[in-house]
């Protein structure tokens, strides 16, 4: 949407100054560090200043896939894919259904929308504490429900359950954004479309499938991409709920933190070059998955 036009203002000085200042901050504190990740992933840099840094070529990457680390890394990779996949799908499908529900002419629907969106504002630490409280193994609502069925669980302490619960909390916290995006899309659908479909005798499900979903295609694309990028890079909830060094919920992003900074606190001399190589692996994974998802979604959009 960019059109090149002649510059109407008298002098270009202010524009150059402000544009330059903006680019400078963005470049120095955002772009350069991001590119530098690739550079230092080929070195043996540590967290301690003053230690000589050597080029070691691809050794960090070979180490990532070496027998000694492969188990842990594949575990983190698998967790990341499961975490991102499940939370994105449920957020998109659930978000769409809730948006359709809240789009009905119900009393106080802006209030309901606001309530679903609230976790985004509360923040991860608050959310983390609330759900640790609810899934408190020594007695909380979660334990009470299980007690009704005569069973109990360690919840976040149970390696088989921890990732599932983190995903659950992530969905609880993230549904609001996807609902809000879908609602904005839904409000752009003219009522006549539904009336026409109703006249043709379409059932509720058919109307959802044949009218709502096609018209919402762009919102679905936005939500899926947002979900993938957010989930692949998010570490906050896993970190707050289960710590950074928990194997059951280890994600690539928490692995970067553990490798680069010791994770348990106090560790400094960690291998940051190696951690940087994990960043790059994660970056490639996010890029590939996003591009594939974008291709599929765009093709669907075109067909509809």
């Amino acid at each position: 949407m960019t059109t090149t036009g002649s510059f109407p203002f008298a002098r270009k000085g202010t524009m150059r100054l402000t544009f330059g200042a903006g680019i400078a901050i963005l470049a120095v504190f955002g772009l350069v560090p991001a590119v530098a990740v690739l550079v230092i992933s080929f070195t043996d840099i540590t967290g301690l200043p003053g230690i000589p840094i050597d080029w070691i070529g691809l050794r960090n990457y070979l180490e990532f896939f070496s027998a000694a680390h492969l188990g842990d890394n594949l575990n983190a990779l698998r967790n990341t894919v499961v975490f991102a996949g499940v939370s994105t799908v449920v957020q998109v499908v659930g978000g769409l259904l809730i948006a359709v529900l809240l789009n009905q002419r119900l009393r106080g629907r802006t209030l309901y929308r606001a309530i679903v969106f609230m976790p985004t504002v509360l923040g991860v630490t608050v959310i983390g504490l609330i759900w640790s409280l609810i899934f408190n193994p020594s007695g909380g609502p979660g334990a009470s429900v299980l007690a009704l069925f005569g069973t109990h669980s360690a919840f976040f302490g149970d390696p088989n359950l921890a990732l599932g619960l983190v995903i659950f909390v992530q969905i609880w916290a993230g549904l609001g954004i996807s609902v809000v995006i879908f609602l904005a899309g839904l409000q752009a659908i003219p009522d006549e479309l539904y009336e026409a479909a109703a006249l043709d005798g379409a059932s509720g499900w058919q109307r959802l499938r044949l009218v709502t979903v096609p018209v919402l295609a762009p919102s679905i694309t936005t939500n899926v991409l947002l979900g993938i990028v957010n989930a692949m890079q998010s570490y906050q909830l896993a970190y707050v709920l289960t710590g950074s060094a928990n194997r059951a919920t280890q994600l690539l992003s928490t692995l970067i933190y553990v490798q680069g900074f010791g994770g348990t606190g106090g560790g400094v001399a960690e291998s940051q070059g190696y951690a940087a190589s994990i960043s790059i692996v994660q970056f490639v994974l996010v890029g590939v998955v996003s591009l594939i998802a974008l291709r599929i979604l765009r093709r669907r959009e075109a067909r509809l």
């Binding site: 949407m1 960019t2 059109t3 036009g5 510059f7 109407p8 203002f9 008298a10 000085g13 524009m15 402000t18 544009f19 903006g22 963005l26 120095v28 504190f29 955002g30 991001a34 530098a36 690739l38 230092i40 967290g47 200043p49 809730i98 809240l102 119900l106 606001a114 309530i115 679903v116 976790p119 504002v121 923040g123 991860v124 630490t125 608050v126 504490l129 609330i130 409280l133 609502p141 954004i177 809000v180 009336e195 919102s219 936005t222 947002l226 990028v229 570490y235 906050q236 707050v240 970067i256 680069g260 900074f261 940051q272 951690a275 940087a276 960043s279 994660q282 970056f283 996010v286 996003s290």
Partner: protein, 273 residues
């Protein structure tokens, strides 16, 4: 669609909404219930409704948690970094959208690429270390400010919807570029600016790992980190923990009630896709 056919569907609608609302409100009510319990009360009956409310939990949590300091820190980080990010988005988005900068097309691509950058935790730490900004509030603010996300893209998208004749009319009145940005673009693009600021503010307000890495001094911790440290210190004193969590959550909920229209509509408008 007659009225009689509508009603049963709406009953179902209200039932589903009630389930949904319960799902989101119950956790907060349970938090409040726990916050009013003493340790003894919690260990004998963790789930039951509180009988003897202990408002002292809030006083204790406030005194021991140093939350006043953390709230101030978080407010500072959020306003400053959100402000810097919004400034960057405006001064980049406007000239690129108008094509006043050479290579505007390429800049738009840069704006998209910004969204997919690799995790730069390690290099941002190294950068601040070498700039002597490690452990300073300024360093953290600059890093967070540069995390503009969709900001420049949203701004340039919105600016294209403002008529170009405006720029020309302003120049005829002898208005310079800087004053035009300040007194025309700023008010006209307010919806987009509010969205950009809020999106970044939410991100900054929630951030915890960069803060852990870049701000080793506890007196500089944002609220996220302060509450997390509090949780580490008072593990299993759930009454106190819940009270602390509520102290943190209440101002957010109050602010949200007043700003919800801007926040939710802003995001809806900005991310429609």
């Amino acid at each position: 669609m007659t009225a009689t056919r509508r009603r049963p569907r709406h009953v179902l609608g209200y039932v589903l909404v009630a389930v949904l609302v319960f799902f989101y409100v119950f956790p907060l009510l349970f938090l409040l219930n726990t916050a009013l319990k003493s340790n003894g009360q919690f260990s004998t009956d963790p789930v039951g409704v509180v009988t003897d409310p202990q408002f002292g939990n809030f006083v204790q949590a406030w005194v021991r948690g140093n939350f006043g300091q953390y709230i101030l820190n978080s407010v500072l980080y959020t306003l400053a970094a959100g402000g810097i990010g919004t400034f960057i988005s405006i001064v980049l988005g406007f000239p690129v959208a108008r094509g006043y900068i050479r290579g505007a097309r390429w800049w738009n691509i840069v704006f998209v690429l910004v969204l997919f950058l690799p995790n730069a935790l390690i290099t941002q730490f190294q950068l601040l270390l070498h700039l002597n900004l490690y452990g300073t509030q300024l360093g953290y603010i600059l890093i967070m400010g540069a995390g503009v996300g969709v900001g420049p893209l949203l701004m340039s998208g919105f600016i294209t919807s403002l008529p170009r004749e405006l720029d020309e009319a302003a120049t005829l009145d002898g208005i310079g570029y800087g004053r035009f940005l300040w007194s025309f673009v700023l008010p006209l693009a307010r919806p987009a600016i509010v969205t950009v600021f809020i999106l970044q503010a939410i991100w900054v307000w929630n951030e915890i790992i960069l803060a852990t890495v870049l701000l080793p001094d506890q007196s500089e911790s944002p609220l996220t980190l302060g509450l997390y440290a509090f949780e580490g210190t008072y593990t299993n004193q759930w009454g106190l923990l819940a009270a602390a969590t509520l102290i943190v959550a209440t101002p957010l909920i109050v602010a949200y009630v007043f700003l919800q229209k801007y926040i939710v509509n802003g995001i809806a408008g900005g991310l429609k896709g």
